[in-house]
């Protein structure tokens, strides 16, 4: 874990709770994520990983607690959550590309209508992003004409088009055929090298071992254990973590 000064705090979560009616999904989560840090969230299904990630940009409304994004508590009133979300790119398990738009239109949509950038400039930037994810030739393809791996790379380009400070990945490779996982992880790897702050829900052990600075092990709505990948993978202390790792390794 890197040394963190107050200015370097990108995300600070304080005592976050989420209840769905009778179900207490998140039971008081607190953590700090610093600039350029790559945090992997692992844990059993139903443990609240996705819910936690979705609470961080309030796609899911937290029940209580505080979330500071770049020092601002986004749980207070007088927050324009749309402005917060432009700072946070999000990539979903099921890609969620807009099926009625081509790849380049998917990428241009938010820059044009949220940032108010001209069509021409948005197209230029979009093409640059498509080149970055290796899909220059697919600009005019519709999502249904693309493979899963290609769709997910377009989805990453779409998120990057808003020039976010932070990227969230919610199981980005879980819906992919094995031979397509690599191409998506390659794109994510370049983002890590560029110093993007990333929060990642995933069970890609190889990628996490290589790229993550820290693992949060989330089970039953609490952070059971956290630490750098080597420590968690090699000698985790908590029986819940050990049991989980034994099952998936």
């Amino acid at each position: 874990m890197k040394e963190s000064s107050a200015a370097d705090k990108m995300i600070e979560v304080v005592d976050l709770h989420k209840r769905f009616k009778d179900l207490h999904v998140l039971k008081g989560i607190s953590t700090v994520i610093t600039r350029s840090e790559v945090v992997a969230i692992m844990g059993p299904s139903g443990g609240g990983k996705s819910t936690f990630l979705r609470c961080l940009n309030r796609l899911e409304e937290p029940t209580s607690g505080h979330i500071y994004i770049e020092g601002v508590d986004i749980m207070t009133p007088y927050i324009d959550i749309n402005k917060v979300r432009t700072e946070i790119g999000m990539v979903f398990q099921s890609f969620n590309l807009f099926p009625h738009l081509t790849a380049i239109e998917n990428i241009k949509l938010a820059p044009m209508h949220v940032r108010g950038i001209s069509d021409r400039e948005a197209t230029e930037r979009g093409m640059a992003l498509l080149e970055k994810v290796g899909l220059t030739g697919k600009a005019l393809s519709y999502p249904e004409q693309l493979s899963g791996g290609q769709q997910q790379r377009v989805a990453i380009a779409r998120a990057l088009a808003m020039q976010p400070q932070i990227m969230f990945f919610d199981e980005p490779t879980s819906a992919l055929d094995p031979e397509m996982i690599g191409e998506v992880l390659d794109v994510m790897r370049t983002m890590v090298h560029e110093g993007m702050t990333m929060v990642l829900v995933s069970h890609e052990m190889g990628f996490i071992r290589e790229a993550a600075d820290r693992i949060l092990f989330l089970a039953d709505g609490v952070i059971v254990e956290e630490g750098p990948p080597e420590q968690i993978f090699r000698d985790s202390r908590h029986p819940r973590t050990q049991e989980f790792l034994r099952a998936i390794l």
């Binding site: 749309n82 979903f92 590309l97 807009f98 949509l109 209508h113 949220v114």
Partner: protein, 332 residues
């Protein structure tokens, strides 16, 4: 000789077998012979309607009916007979049944034609019906636009999921869908003037149809909006698009193609319901036909109106069907 096509020497445990009489009955030669027998029966055995003894009349007609139904049923139920033959047999059956009815029913055909199909009486008055059709189409087009606006607005407001708002929107939808169109129209036209609001017959028709069909249209739009996967909203919102931008740029472009077939269906029903406006004296097609009916003391104008409705609506119904089929083909 076998009646079934295919090489006759096939023997396996799944071979389709029929009893011997069944195979005989389905042979073309048998069908041809029985056909001749039936024609002979119709020509020489069936008695004159007036002259026959009732018992003989009834029993011979019953026997004839039994014969033709069995004969055509035998062909229609046979999977191996060509479809063209079945079509021809169906039409022939209908024609024969109509001929039997015409000959033996004892109806007063000349009077029927004089009252209901007396088209020469309409000579020089077709323009009245044409004007009526013009008013009908105008009512339909304006009300269609109105109901789509009302329906879209209600459907969009419902996406806000505000319990208070939904209470009122649901009340509007449920109430308007539960009152017959005729009652809405009569209330608007005859009751509202006592509340100090009076609308002309055209205006009250347009308002009634827009509000009434707006309720149905709202439900269609809502179904379309709900058919768009929630991941679409999440992706759009996570990019920083506002709720309205998400609706306009992401949800509606996907929902509207889904909604068009049911919507067109609604509009066809609405075009038919414009006839209700004749009750509040809007000068549309049915009203004009009824005026002519009174003036000529002959109901032929009503038949003419029915034919005009048919001529306008059949193509529309076909279009709706086509849209639905195209949609089904495109759906994964």
């Amino acid at each position: 000789m076998q009646s079934q096509p295919g090489p006759p020497d096939i023997t396996h445990k799944f071979l389709r077998t029929h009893p011997a009489w069944f195979r005989v009955v389905r042979r073309p030669i048998f069908l041809a012979v029985t056909f001749v027998v039936m024609v002979a029966f119709a020509m020489f055995v069936l008695p004159q309607p007036e002259s026959a003894v009732p018992a003989w009349l009834y029993s011979s007609i019953s026997l004839f009916l039994l014969l033709i139904l069995a004969w055509s049923g035998n062909i229609l139920a046979d999977r191996d007979k060509p479809e063209v033959l079945k079509l021809a047999v169906s039409f022939a059956l209908i024609a024969v049944l109509a001929w039997l009815f015409y000959r033996y029913s004892g109806a007063q055909w000349d009077k029927l034609t004089e009252f209901f199909l007396n088209f020469p009486k309409l000579k020089g008055n077709w323009w009245i019906l044409r004007n009526g059709l013009g008013v009908t189409l105008m009512l339909a087009v304006i009300s269609a636009a109105g109901s789509i606006l009302v329906g879209l607005a209600v459907a969009i407001l419902r996406t806000y999921n505000s319990p208070t708002l939904n209470l009122f929107l649901k009340a509007y939808i449920d109430i308007l869908r539960s009152i017959p169109m005729i009652v809405i129209m009569v209330l608007l036209f005859f009751a509202l003037p006592f509340a100090g609001i009076s609308m002309g017959s055209i205006m009250s028709t347009v308002v009634a149809l827009s509000l009434g069909y707006g309720a149905y249209t709202a439900e269609s739009f809502r179904a379309g909006i709900e058919s768009v996967h929630s991941g679409q909203t999440e992706a759009a919102r996570s990019l920083g698009l506002s709720r309205w931008q998400t609706l306009r740029r992401v949800i509606l472009p996907q929902a509207i193609p889904v909604v068009i077939p049911p919507l067109t269906g609604n509009l066809v029903s609405m075009l038919k319901d414009t006839a209700v406006a004749s009750l509040v004296a809007a000068p549309e097609l049915l009203k004009r036909a009824r005026e002519l009916y009174t003036a000529k003391t002959n109901p032929t104008p009503l038949v003419a109106a029915a034919l005009i409705y048919l001529a306008v609506l059949i193509p529309l119904v076909r279009v709706v069907n086509m849209l639905e089929n195209r949609r089904k083909k495109r759906a994964p």
